[in-house]
Amino acid sequence: MKIRIFVGTGGVGKTSVAAASGLKSAIEGSRCLVLTIDPATRLKTALGMGTAGDRQKVPIEAFSAKGELWAAQLDVKERLDHLVRRHAPADKLPIILQHPIYQAIGTLVGMQELMAIERIGEALGEGYDEVIVDTAPARHALEFLDKPEYFTQLVGSPLVRLVGRTYKWWQKSSLARLGRIGVELYGQIENLVGANLLRDVLEFFSAFQGVAEGYAKESAETLERIHDSRTTSFTIITSPFKASRDAGYFWEELRKREFFVEGLVVNRVWPELAVSARPGATSEAEALVTWYRNVSAAHRQAWERVAAEYSPKIPRLLALRELATDIDGLPALHQMAQAMGQG
């Protein structure tokens, strides 16, 4: 069982490269899931599938595949409901599901990163040989790994556990039991967020705590497997003009967290264009040719630079050629998968 995580900034073709890698593995005999946690992506369009359902089997018989390819896209609200139903005690379930705070968090930004690890965790139990994760370009690209750790820290802190367990009790008795500093602090927080909202949040949390602790425990286990280089590897995807800075940024961030960086893919490198304008060509044609030649030369220079710098650090370096047509549908992905084999 392998986990391969594809990271990169936006617009470099992460989803296509992830899907093509999955296709390649499936053709070679793996039972493989490509999971995208980016809400904006069109994985299913790229794979020529409909939009319904959590995960779908991709029809790849045409490529005489020995394995299976599955595709799934993270649905935050659905995962959150799933999590609650799994961990909430029966008496708390309706309270949680109908609580206004629950309605709010289901719609809010930031949940995606928390639910990603939950979905990855579930995928690990679904019997795949390989799980390929196509990540979202977040503010901080590795937020989906950092955020669950903060959450675990929050839920595990003695104060939060105390408040969660005893809120009902001290709400009824007296705030005085919190001590003088506690009362003062509570008053200040009340000023800051508003008395009603604070009460709502605390009330919600006292019902939700079991779910939060369940999440924290599961995500810690999943993160442990992601930290294990025997199970998990990272691949950095970039494009020629971003290659040098993306590679530098992700290499540092991943190394800081002690993850195993297995690959660097520079996607969409233009081929060498030895084309010129015929004598007597229009100035339009002249300008076009010059422009294309310059851009393609700059692409190849960028690739050579980054390859020289990272070949001692990263085991697999690969330049993927820009296809003349846009990546759309399985045939184009198959073309890309074949190019990967040669790399």
Partner: protein, 307 residues
């Protein structure tokens, strides 16, 4: 303090990842700064990341006056939140207790929407109040995050207004009203002429107009080739080109050129606003040259788009 009518207006560059939002934001900032307007470019990237992506190195040497008028800041929501705590809580002992507690620190990281609302609030204030340094900005440019996160960020204000109560709901309502005011909040999506980016732009235009009641000013097509707008038939072009080896290289150029043209037409039909092209400079050595080139191409853009 500035008069209520004197608030700076904001240009928001949004769009798919990798379409050039940061470069265009900095280029517009440069254009304003060269016209001696104090301008701040607000980026959602942490500064080390931004510095790695595009640099203004050399500006002070070449255009000292523009350098004096151009500010690039990263709003760190954590800092905004800790300033709020400092302002609200009167006792320094309590402030310290709150800010150093692991509960506060991890809560800030995980509370959904909290960082986003703090960011938007700071952005809103930047258009209205002098900054900490006492500088009043004429123009504010927001280099927004990629589409998904950008829309979610704007929706936070609506969610806070709808689901929460007290000061946070009020804050949500204020920001929602600010971002729907098209005279002060000019949204300009950027795209490249590539299938995925164009589709995302059409969808983005629709979503902005829907739940958020925002009407973008125009769409900028970035990094186009010199012939994206050409009407010369592709086959005529073929006859004018010759390749050293096989014709695959010529086919590559013609195919990409045809894609650009058809996507430009598609976009023109799907989006009711104005469309403008920014051609990709084929090569450059200093980032500043690239930015100056883009700024020059934006010179004739109507002021209402770029406020």
């Amino acid at each position: 303090m500035s008069a209520p009518g004197a608030a700076a207006s904001l240009t928001v560059f949004c769009g798919k990842g990798g379409v050039g939002k940061t470069s265009i934001s900095l280029a517009l900032g440069l254009r304003h700064a060269m016209q001696k307007r104090p301008t701040v470019v607000v980026t959602s990237h942490p500064l080390p990341e931004l510095a790695a992506s595009v640099s203004l190195a050399g500006l002070r040497e070449r255009y000292p006056e523009a350098a004096d008028n151009l500010f690039v800041i990263h709003i760190d929501p954590r800092e905004v939140l800790s300033n709020t705590v400092k302002k609200t809580i009167p006792s320094s002992l309590l402030i310290k207790a709150v800010l150093t507690s692991s509960v506060y620190q991890s809560l800030v990281e995980v509370a959904p929407g909290l960082k986003e609302i703090a960011f938007l609030n700071r952005l809103h204030r930047l258009t209205e109040e002098p900054s900490e340094a006492g500088k009043k900005f004429d123009r504010v440019v927001w280099d927004a995050p990629a589409t998904g996160h950008f829309l979610q960020t704007l929706l936070v204000s609506r969610s806070f207004e709808q689901y929460l109560s007290g000061p946070f709901a009020l804050l949500g309502a204020q920001i929602a009203s600010f971002s729907s005011d098209s005279a002060r909040f000019a949204v300009v999506p950027i795209t490249t002429l590539e299938e995925m980016a164009v589709e995302e732009t059409i969808e983005l235009w629709r979503q902005l107009g829907g739940d958020l009641a925002i009407e973008p000013k125009a769409v900028l097509c970035n990094m186009t080739s010199p012939l994206a707008r050409s009407t010369q038939p592709v086959e005529e072009l073929r006859g004018q080109l010759e390749a050293e080896g096989d014709d695959a290289a010529i086919q590559f150029i013609l195919d990409r050129n045809a894609i650009e043209r058809s996507l430009f037409t598609k976009l023109r039909h799907a989006v009711p606003g104005a469309l403008r092209l920014i051609e990709r400079k084929a090569s450059w050595t200093a980032d500043l040259d690239l930015l100056l080139d883009i700024a020059k191409q934006m010179e004739d853009f109507p002021d209402a788009w770029t406020q």
